[in-house]
């Protein structure tokens, strides 16, 4: 067990140096923070609204993750394949599971750092009024879980292909689907193709409703379990595709 954790940790550190050693981390963080700030203050007019409530801030996270999570994860496996380092990696005494976890946790931790760096808005809202800190904490918790779910989709998609671009397109599409699952465009489209029970089931998959529940200030076991299920499922597909990489 211990060696497993050590392996994961080494992959983790390898990835982190990869992020921060290149322009990738910095560019991503700058874009993420600027976009989030722009949407919150100029599109949602946070300051003009006059409410010490970060609801509008959190409502942008699913849409930003939908684009940026695929961007971070698209290179995770595809690069290794392209550069031929994947086989090399697999000769080391680590299991596919450990490799996946190492990469996934690194990506998730990185997004966690990005979330932490949004702390100026917490200071702002505390300075301007008296916000509900329980709800803010829950908002961040929900966002972090959702980020994990989107990243797991991205990393799974990356393991299916040699091309980062294909990975990006596929995972953004899937993430978009998860965002829109409960809403009329998707339900209407599905109505003619699938039985009602299936349509209802699909609308339950929506990330937005689960995140909305959490950002109201209530953490329900069901919502947490949903996100963990999505992550687990995607990472499982990831491991299957790794094991079958010769045939793919």
């Amino acid at each position: 067990m211990n060696s497993g954790i050590r392996h994961i940790k080494s992959i983790f550190m390898r990835e982190m140096t990869g992020y921060f050693g290149s322009a990738l981390a910095y560019v991503f963080l700058v874009i993420f923070l600027v976009l989030l700030g722009f949407f919150t203050f100029y599109v949602s007019r946070f300051f003009e609204n006059g409410q010490a409530d970060l609801g509008v801030f959190f409502s942008w996270h699913p849409w930003l993750y939908m684009l940026l999570a695929p961007a971070i994860t698209m290179r995770l496996w595809a690069d290794e394949r392209k550069q031929g380092t994947l086989e090399l990696l697999m000769t080391f005494p680590i299991t596919p599971f450990e490799a996946i976890m190492g990469k996934f946790l690194a990506a998730w931790f990185f997004v966690g750092i990005a979330l932490l760096l949004t702390f100026p808005i917490i200071i702002t809202v505390t300075y301007l009024g008296s916000p509900d800190f329980g709800a803010i904490f829950c908002g961040y918790a929900g966002s972090f879980l959702m980020a994990g779910a989107f990243l797991s989709i991205g990393i799974m998609s990356s393991s299916l292909t040699r091309s980062p671009v294909v990975s990006f397109l596929v995972s953004s599409f899937i993430c978009l689907f998860f965002n829109l699952a409960g809403y009329p465009p998707v339900t209407q489209a599905m109505k003619s193709l699938a039985p009602d029970a299936m349509v209802n089931f699909v609308s339950e998959l929506s990330m937005l409703t689960h995140v909305a529940s959490i950002s109201r200030g209530v953490i329900s076991l069901f919502d947490v379990f949903y996100f963990v299920s999505v992550m687990g499922f995607m990472l499982f597909i990831n491991s299957v595709s790794l094991e079958n990489r010769q045939t793919l």
């Binding site: 600027v34 596919p96 379990f225 499982f236 094991e243 079958n244």
Partner: protein, 618 residues
Amino acid sequence: MSSKENNTGSSHGMPLLTGFAGIVIVFLILVFANVLVAKMNLRWDASSEKLYSLSDATENIASNLKNRVEIRFFYSEDNINIPAHIKAYAKRVRDFLGEYENAGRGKIVFESINPSHDSDEEDLAQKYGVKGLNLPTGERVYFGLVAISSDQEEVIPYLDPNREAQLEYDITRAITRVQNPKKEKIGIITGLPVMGMGMANPMQPGMSRPWVFVNELKKTCDVSLIDKEDEKIPDDVRLLMLINPDSVSDKLLKAIDSYATSGGNVIVLADPLCISGNANPMAGGGGIDRNLEKLLAAWGVEIDSQKIVADFFYPTQLYSQRNPGSVESNPVWISAQKDVFDQQDTITGKIENMLFPIAGAVMIKEKAGLKSSTLVRTSKSSALVESFKAQLGGELAADFKPTGEVYNIAVKLEGTFPSVFSETAAKAEDKTGGNSPKTATVIVVADADFIADDYYVEKQNFLGFEMAQIFNDNLNFFLNATELLTGNPELARIRAGGTFSRPFTKVRDMELRAREKWYAQEVVLEKSAEETNQKLQALNSKKSEKQSFVLNPEQEAEIKKFQEEKIRINRELKAVRRNLKSDIESMGNVIKFLNIFFMPLLIAVAGILFAIRRRQNA
């Protein structure tokens, strides 16, 4: 972990097939697990208002129920066209009802029923009065509940997402009502058409319906109007409401008086300037009825009929009457906030904000046997002004000099109420009537407009249902007072502050300070602008009278002078108005910059430094 074998990878199709099958199996397991967890209903409520847990009052009521209560929850959950926000709300309601079941310890049983089209369940829903909602697609969906105990039923025909804040109250009230169906009787004496006028008046659409607060009261109480000609208050009246009554006859005064002295509770709304319910709103109220003043005086209460209160710290933004089209801060329309409500009292403990459209001040003189407490007061930046000055609106700020005096808008009196008539007569009645003096509670509010529909509720028509969106706590205040005085105070404790508003207090303080600094100046400038305009118009009209009128140089110079004056004043006015907003805007800009660019800049700098260092090392 046999990594060696897996790493070489095999080219058989088998691993792929088992892999694929594995995926499907895992998927099914996860779905099944999710369904199970969904049923479990475990939650951690971290919100500061504890929006999603039952309050102590409900827990008390639930665990002390005498009879078993069954809650039937009707929700057409299979319908895929239900709007997403209603689906989400339905889930919250279901979870919430689960909490009731837990708190009830077996006495509360909750059943979910799914009425699909033309089913037995749909008939059941109709039978209980759960109204269906017609979707734009033409389908009918049900989203309501009914509480049943022995042979009593209490229905909530439609669970309005806009009423989510009152959900706990509505459900708990339904439960208590089926346990104790007896409706307390409320008598109303009023000069306002609160019960709706008999004949629909085409000039005043909507006036023929009872006011919203009456409909709310009718849900728990038996509400009836006591006519001005009546000479007696019916014995079974538990709570008497005097809502700006006009022409109270002497006989009626006597009836009210004996009601109060024998322990009857009263809510009095006595408004020096009432603007609701009149055919001509400009006529204003006629002040307070003489006999009502006498009654209040006997209790040590005085409301000056000629004076209204202006609160400069809690004004309301209204369209200005003097400057049509522009908005001003009107201090006689008081938007009272949390600080001025009595936090300890059940009635006002959870009230967050209320709107009082032109109120008076309640002065209290101590009377033996009576204890008074203030429920709502003004801020320290207030003044008592003559009623006719109400129309000045925002201009009152120009003359305002703060004295630090605070005025009462609503008070509560408890104890034994003395009679209006001679002391000896009252004492004689006491001796023959009962053994111990009866105590009563009276609430006096120096405003009646605050419970008129326009000042606390916005009505909308949604898919054939009339939805009421409440935007302040006026109704909550009134209903809390009613519940307290009809003997059901626990329900008042449940009611959450209805608006959940968290304003930017910093910005509000800045607005106030800016107002103090510039407003007086703006008013003065506006006055001189108007005067200059009038002078110009007078001069110009003289010119047009006689077509052949030729101006001599002096008159031309005078017109020019006034025109220049007008331009100068307008420019100064613009500058002052800009100043009112400028501090706040510049703070806004700083905040926006800090939030959007500060961290990214730091990161970019860090990245560049790091890159430089790496290049140096290489």
